[in-house]
Every structure is written in C-alpha cells, then in structure tokens.
Symmetry: C2
Subunit: 432 residues, 2 copies
C-alpha cells in the first residue's frame, strides 16, 4: 500500500467543510473534532439495541432469538511476543474496545473522528442500526502463557477451568482455525453489522493485536417460530437449558465462587469448526438420517414420539428388543442423563465458506471440490471439564454423526463477567 500517509495541504479543511464530507453530515458540523462524545445516531431506529453493560456479558444468554449472523475473531498479541509483561498497550486496547463496543451496540460509529490524518470508521454499517449487535469478549490460554512465557504476569490468574482442550478421536484440526489469545464474537441481525464491528475493533487494536482466525456464521433462529434447523435439516438446540431458569444458569453456565474473581459471572466458550459432508448427507434417506440423529426430522421429536419436547426415553425398545433410539444416535449420546447431568448452552451457527478441495479416503476414493460448510459450534458453560470435554470425548468415539462431520477448528476462551459502565473489559483481570 502506498500514499496513505501523505495528506495534501488543506485536507483538514476539506474533511470538515466539503459537501460530501463525513463530519458535517454525520456528526453535526459544530461538534466535529471537538473531542467529546457524540450521539451520532444512525438513520434506522434502534429500539431493539441489546444492552452492552450488565451483570453478564451480552451475546451469551441474550434473551431474544439468537441473531441471524455472527462473526467470531481470535486475535494474537503478536506484536508483544518479545516484550516482558507490558500490560499497558493491552489495557489501552481493551479500553478502546469497551468504548467502541458500547457505541456500536447502540448503532453508532466505533469512535468519534479524531483528525483527517487518522483513519476513521469505515461506515459500511451506516444506516443499518444496531441490528441487535452483541459483542462478547474472551481470553484464551495464550494470554496467560505463550511458549512457556508468562508475558503479562497473568499466569496466576488463569482459571483452572481454562484448560487446553485435549485431542479428540477424529480431530483433523488446522492451525489456521485454532487457538488465540483474545476473542471477540460479534452477533447481529445483519452480516455487515457483525463484520463491521470486528473490523473496527481490529483497526483500533492496530500495533497491539492481529487477526489469527475468523469465522462467519448464519442462523435462521430470528426468522422461525421455535427451534431453528441447521444445515442437516434437523432442529438444533432443542435440549438447550432455559436461560430464564436462574438455578440452571448458575449450575451450568455462569462461573461462580470457584473461579478467580475476574471470571465470576463469566462463562467459558468452546469453539469448534465442524465441517459437514453435506453432499453425502443429502444423498442419505430420511430414515437413515433420523436413526443417525435419534430424532424425527420434521417434528424434532425423539424417535417413536410425536412432539419436539417429549422426553428422550433411552430405555424404549421396539418389538424385536432393539433400542428405539439407537446406541450410536447423536441425541442419545448428548443427553444429560448420559453425561452425569452435564448441560451446555449451545449457540451454534451454520457456516458456508464456498467449496474447497477434499481428498476422500473411503469409499470410493476420490478427489473433489466439496462444500466448505457445516456447523460453527459455539457452546458456553460453567466449566468445560464438566461440560463439553466429557460429552464430546464420548461422542467423538461413538456418534453415528461422525460419518459426516470433521472437526477442523478448535479454541477455548474464558469470557469474563459482565462489564459495568466506567470499567473496561477484563479490568478485574489486568488490575489485580
């Protein structure tokens, strides 16, 4: 890139005064560059904005239907790899992110304009409102220890529950979809609003953090009554615990007194990029698909039952004495009673990133382009050691669905407790 830093004479005047300029129209001519806050509302009314501040971070147990789009980004603090325990730039980044998050979740630009010589909000979300934007931040294992180094003096604050995920049977993880020191998940009812939010945060983090991987996803939860269907055509999320049940949330979702203080009220996010062989799935018969899942496709009911929320009767047998819900059915293996009562809050999105090359091993052996699409699994929980890890340890060995799924990305993040106005994301971690 070239020429970016060369500002011709008079550009400041033009920036403020020109008929097509940003300053006058977006912010009111008199407030431009005054340095103060500005309400700068977008054109679209925004009654539905999701509150950013609160006892828990937004985007985890957000009560409305899950937003239609998400953009998840994991970042490295790469520029700081060699520095010893300098928290200041990271704190400055988190402060800027907190301001920007509060602004963008209320439908405003990421930051007031500073000067014509500085980059500015990209405006690609102008006029789109908040679109119910939520921004959820997390800290990965690399923040606490990287290559054996406790860069920021935070190792003592690493929660026991923030484990390194084990290698599961069948994992085919690609580094470009794994790990990260810091995460942000932007969810909104418009994909451009979600992507815009992450881009602005990345822009504001320049010189401190760089993108490690990102993943865009979509859902129809906001467009249907009831449980949305995933790309396999089955209802996805039937077994989710109720976010309106405070006891269940405290038992299974929110970190409590067992966690370091900065994590209390927070939750642990497990991310898995699960590629699904949709071409093959689409050639399976309905009966085969239903036995694989353990549920009826149309209704979502357990096999042999009529309604989606009918209980799973894992002991039911057919006349021949065989289990109605097969031993390898996905629904059986994920049931709480098969997992010592464990529950996780799934906020899964679909992803569809075009097609890419796949070498299939068996049968028949072939090399083709296949959809690079599947499930962007994101689950929140109080403790992954009691949630995702034991559940998936078993499923990764036994689940009939494994014939169609390949886990190619993986990450874990500790998402701290809610943010109060005046404080910044992770302040209790960095200032203990």
């Amino acid at each position: 890139m070239t020429g970016a830093d060369a500002q011709p004479a008079g550009s400041r005047r033009r920036f403020i005064a020109a008929g097509g300029g940003i300053a006058g129209a977006a912010l009111g001519a008199n407030t431009a560059f005054a340095g103060g806050e500005t309400s700068a509302p977008r054109a679209t009314p925004d009654d539905a904005a999701e509150p950013f501040f609160g006892p828990h971070q937004n985007g985890i147990a957000t009560p409305n239907p899950m937003q239609g789009s998400t953009y998840f980004a994991a970042l490295d603090l790469a520029a700081l790899d060699l520095a010893a325990a300098d928290r200041k730039p990271v704190i400055a980044m988190l402060q800027a992110w907190t301001d920007a998050a509060e602004r963008m979740t209320t439908g405003r630009i990421a930051a007031p304009p500073a000067s014509p010589n500085r980059p500015f909000d990209n405006l690609d979300a102008l006029g789109l409102g908040s679109a119910r934007l939520t921004l959820t931040f997390g800290f990965g294992p690399d923040l606490f220890m990287l290559n054996g180094k406790d860069r920021f003096g935070l190792a003592g604050q690493r929660p026991a529950a923030l484990v390194d995920l084990p290698v599961f049977p069948g994992d085919q993880l690609e580094k470009r979809h794994c790990g990260g020191a810091v995460s942000v998940q932007a969810s909104a009812d418009d994909p451009q609003v979600a992507f815009h939010a992450v881009r602005e945060l990345v822009r504001l983090a320049r010189d401190t953090a760089i993108v490690r991987w990102t993943q865009a996803g979509f859902s129809t939860a906001h467009r249907v009554n009831g449980t949305a269907r995933n790309l396999m055509g089955f209802k996805d999320g039937t077994m989710n615990p109720s976010i309106r049940d405070a006891k269940t949330m405290n038992d299974h979702l929110w970190a409590g007194a067992e966690a370091p203080r900065w994590m209390q009220g927070g939750s642990y996010a497990v991310f898995r990029r699960i590629r699904i062989a949709l071409e093959h799935w689409d050639q399976m018969t309905l009966g085969f698909q239903e036995r694989t899942i353990g549920r009826h496709k149309l209704s979502g009911a357990p096999l042999g039952r009529a309604r989606e929320f009918d209980p799973l009767d894992l002991n039911a047998q057919d006349k021949g004495g065989n289990p109605v819900i097969p031993a390898t059915a996905h629904a059986r293996l994920g049931a709480p009673e098969q997992n010592a009562g464990a529950q996780i809050l799934r906020r899964a999105y679909n992803y569809s990133d075009g097609a890419s090359f796949v070498a299939e091993r068996w049968p028949p052996w072939k090399q083709v382009m296949e959809y690079d699409a599947g499930l962007m699994f994101v689950a929140y929980q109080k403790d992954p050691r009691l949630g995702f890890i034991p559940m998936f340890e078993k499923m990764s060995r036994l689940d009939a669905l494994n014939q169609f799924t390949t886990h190619v990305g993986s990450a874990i993040f500790a998402c701290p407790g809610g943010i109060r106005k005046g404080l910044y994301i992770g302040q209790a971690l960095f200032e203990t």
Copy 2:
C-alpha cells in the same frame, strides 16, 4: 460414508406413518408417494415470491431491491467427460432443475417425495418461505468445448459473445475459483434458503454434474433506502443503468438478434472474486479513500459535488489546474463516457469467508492471516466484448483501487433467455 443404502425392513411403512415422519405432516397423508404434484406450502406466507417463468430469467433485472444473500455455484459435467455427445443426462438434469426451481421459488420443497429408499429434500429451508428466491442459470465455455472436444455437439451454438476472458494485468486467479460448464446463482433474503436451493439442485444432478466452485455473498440492499454500501464503506451501484428503461436494457443488458436464438433475451454474466485488503483500507484516511474512489464517502456524490446522482464532471479542475476527480480514480475509469458508452448491470455482493494466509510482498514484507473477504462481482451485459472486458482492461492497469484489490476468481456464463412454463432451462439450445 456407510450404511446409506441399507434400508431396514418396514422403513417404507415407517416413512409414511410415523408421527414425526415427513410424509403426513408436510404433504397430506393421502398424497404421499402418489407421484403427482403437490402444493406442500411452507409455513410462511409468500406473497413476495419472485416469478420464475417470464420473458427473461429471474435474478438478473429483478425489480425489487437485490436480495440480502446469494449463493453462486459453477458445476462441471465431469462424469460425462469421456462420453461422446450424449445430451440425454444433461437434458434430464435441466428438466429436473426447471421443476425444482419453479417449486423452490414459490417456497415449496425441491421435489415431491418418491420413496423412502430415495433421498429427500433436506428441509433446512422449511418454514422460511420463498424469501424472494431467484434462480439464474448459465452455460460456460466448457459446455461447448472442453479439451478440444465438442462433447455435446453444441460448439456451433456457442455465441460469439461468450468469449474466454483474457488475462488482465494483476490477475492472481486460483483455479478453485474459476470456470465451469454450468452455473446457477441462487439469491434470497435468507442465506439458508439460497444455499438450500443450490444443494437441492446439486443433489438432483447427481451422476451428471459436480460442484466446481461456489461463492456465498451478502448485501444490505434490502435493508437500506437507496444505494447499499459495500465493504469499503462506499455506495456501490450508483451508476447502474435503470432496469425500468427498456431501451437501455435492450441496448446494454439483453442479447438480441445478433445472438443465437436460444440466447435471445438472455444476458452474459461475468463473475470475479475480488479480494480486498480490508485491513489496509481500514487504516487509510477518509481523504485518501475518497480520492481513490473519486466520490465522497458519506453522500456518494462525485468529488466536489453534493448529491449522489450529480453528474461526474470529468473536466472539473481545482485552482491549481489539477483534476478534481483524479486521473486514476475508480469512478472516472468506470464512467460510460470513458468507455465508449458501455454500461453493465452490476449485481455485486460482499463476501466474507473467514481469514486466510497472505504473503505480502511490499511494504513491509510480512506473512499474516488476513480477511478472506471482498467483493463478489457479478455483472450482466449484452456483450462482454463491449462491456466488462474493455472497461476492466483499462481499470486493471490504471485504477488506484488496485492497490487494495486482487482478482482471485473469474468465470463467464451465457444465461439464456427466459423460461416459459412447460419448457426447460436451455431447451432451445439442446433441441436445435
């Protein structure tokens, strides 16, 4: 994959009768497997369905705002590479596609169920309505001639305007984003509806066609008043010709008497996957961005003017005698008066496929993960030799925007004229 073809005894009975089965609930128990058409409406009212039949294909000059999502797929007729001139399976595929397209664009499943031993509509778009789905089909150069072979005896029907696109300066094309014998573009107001439509067509084409590449895109055109912004934050499509001006459409969009009969009323689609270095763009100042584009960012007006649709005054000079709209500005180079009056109908979407590895050459040299995002350029025109090709030949050399853009995918398709009820897609080509 395993076990798919093994149907246990009684599966047909279960398929029809089970409480959670598809047949009864979706189609009315008495009509299941009767073989006839069924209306099988989805749950969502569908007053806004876009008509599939008409004088032109839908999805090209669709009068409502462009849909929010698109999914473009190019396919090879790979299984037929070695066969000589057997059009029958291709015709059967196009017949099945025509039926499925008419059904899905009116919010129905792709095909009535045939038997429990056959795969069935995946149902992932159930309850989502038509979502204004349009399906646009095209034929690429490979259909007419592949590796020097006129497989289907169609070479004589290849339109002169369906040229092989030249190599443009700066092209960094990747084979996995290029070419194809057959294309389908599904656009809808829901990404799952668009993807579902393509998946069903691919499923129905089994043994005849396989996916070569796909590209998902999104737009905010349906959510804003006026011209939508692309990922660079600028309004995109200001210069599009009016689809309500019949003369302009006949002059610039629709193939006429100069084309083979099967193409008359059709249009040529040029696809380019244009990766944009958004990280760098986001670090540029507003003034630099505006000089690159030649327009003001907020209003979309030409530099020096106040309103989006003010004419581009390419002769305007500032006090120093320099052009107000720089010689290398994107808007100047694309203006019709700079291109012998050429106009193309742009239906561009944004794409965002996560992040991928980029080795930057200059300056500074580095290897990082960057957004795999940018513009999914799709433009329709009467003749690419008078439209996209000369326009981009010049822009690829001079456009200041080239500092940020890299063309990594490319394809061209002849999209035949509109489809009348009772005929199938491309019938006039295959039956001449």
